[in-house]
Symmetry: C2
């Protein structure tokens, strides 16, 4: 077993983008152990110099050259970070020059004012969507359901709530959700509350074994958590989706991000900011 | 005014990473108008060929070479997409070769099984954190507050709820929140409910004008939405934070992502997955 390779994510913003693309790349080297360090908000030369010292000290202590994934817009700060004794992967620099050539124009840093106005609008859209989702969680209210962009339907614990909240936070989508209870599942009709909004419905299904595990965690040894209950509820729900032509997807092996993008595609929804 | 330049985000996963880094790059060319198209889940040669046709048709119709930001792990699919008549920015290819050299090993595609187990664990951590946040929203319960990773405190509408939910979804952090009501603000002591957990507290402040706008939207022309009310509540809250040494930040110009990363840093929290 060799020593882990140290990885630094350095960004003048949150570092999320650098982390995402960095992790996707490191994933391709499954046999190597990595140790991660994230330095967000490196937006002054002083902070940049401090990070350089930290990286250099790490390199010295470990004897292995660290890997630095750098996502920094500002030239001056980028130049300082470059001096760190690491193997640099520089997202901005690598592509900005290529894009300048292709677009036949010089890149200019985004204005500060512009950025903060964008944040406010984005924030408002998110707030509104999050409030909407919270107010329409678990079928608690059909008030304003006609203002929903999408209504997720599925049996209890099939993953509706986190998906709704993610759609709200990430895309500003007003996502309501409606839990299919046994009464709903016995009927061949759509539940009364959501029937008027058939075009907004999207169904979630899940593997019975996975559902059982989730329910068992919540209410151990209940009828609710029995594998037979899970199987029959899921089968009934799926039949309902098919009977009424409601698009649906299986959540079992999907992340919340993947689910959200599937739903956007299937329902032809666009982000609100 | 010139015609907009078409931009394609093509990914074998959600396309979120490609969009994030692509948008950051395009932001540097503020004067050019871009029209975006995202094609997620391009994970078969067939889908790849369809996308190539779409890109080529777009190029023909618009007379301008489109820009393609491509984030595809699979070699075969990447090779097909390369044939599209676009200006390609290929995230994986550009860096994978460099990393292979640096790490002195060949990249291998991540195993499918590994991925889905990772998803399940991640999903469980998120579910748990989201449920925790929902159960501890707006100070509704002090039950299990000792299990919180962080407790956000601030006046009504200062941005606590979306930030808590984002911390839960993105990092699996159990974030509770406590709204400072006028009664709390009149006292020099910390609110009874959160006092035992002083080390977990983080304060949110906001510009009075911005708070007024948000409250006005919610309860027009109420005392609650008056600028004087907003000013004094915010001043009292800030005094409380300072008096008790509680770290705090101003939410006004920050996105939810930025707030979340600030809080992680200030409270020395690590993602739970």
């Amino acid at each position: 077993m060799t020593a882990p390779r140290h990885v630094f994510y350095i960004s003048d913003r949150t570092g999320l983008t650098a982390e995402n693309i960095g992790e996707a790349l490191l994933n391709q080297f499954g046999r190597i152990e990595f140790k991660r360090h994230t330095y967000p908000f490196i937006d002054t030369p002083e902070k940049a110099r401090t990070v350089v010292e930290i990286v250099n000290r790490n390199a010295q202590e470990n004897g292995l050259r660290p890997i630095a994934f750098v996502s920094v817009v500002n030239d001056e700060i980028r130049e300082i970070i470059k001096k760190a004794g690491a193997f640099h992967i520089n997202f901005f620099e690598t592509f900005l020059g290529l894009l300048e050539k292709e677009l036949n124009t010089e890149a200019v840093a985004a204005e500060q004012g512009h950025h903060s106005i964008g944040n406010t609008q984005r924030y408002d859209a998110r707030m509104e969507a999050v409030n909407f989702s919270l107010n329409h969680d678990d079928g608690v209210s059909d008030k304003n359901l006609k203002e929903a962009d999408v209504i997720l339907m599925g049996v209890s614990r099939s993953g509706k709530t986190p998906t709704c909240l993610y759609l709200a936070l990430q895309y500003g989508i007003r996502a309501a959700n409606y839990p299919l209870i046994p009464d709903d599942l016995e009927s061949t009709d759509l539940p009364r509350m959501v029937k008027p909004y058939k075009d907004k419905l999207f169904g979630l299904t899940i593997q019975p074994e996975r559902l059982q595990a989730i329910r068992q965690e919540r209410r151990p040894n209940s009828t609710y958590a029995k594998i037979d209950t899970c199987r029959s509820e899921i089968a009934d729900a799926q039949n309902m989706f098919k009977r009424h032509g409601i698009p649906f997807t299986n959540t079992t092996d999907k992340s919340v991000e993947e689910l959200a993008v599937h739903i956007l595609q299937a329902c032809k929804l666009k982000r609100r900011f």
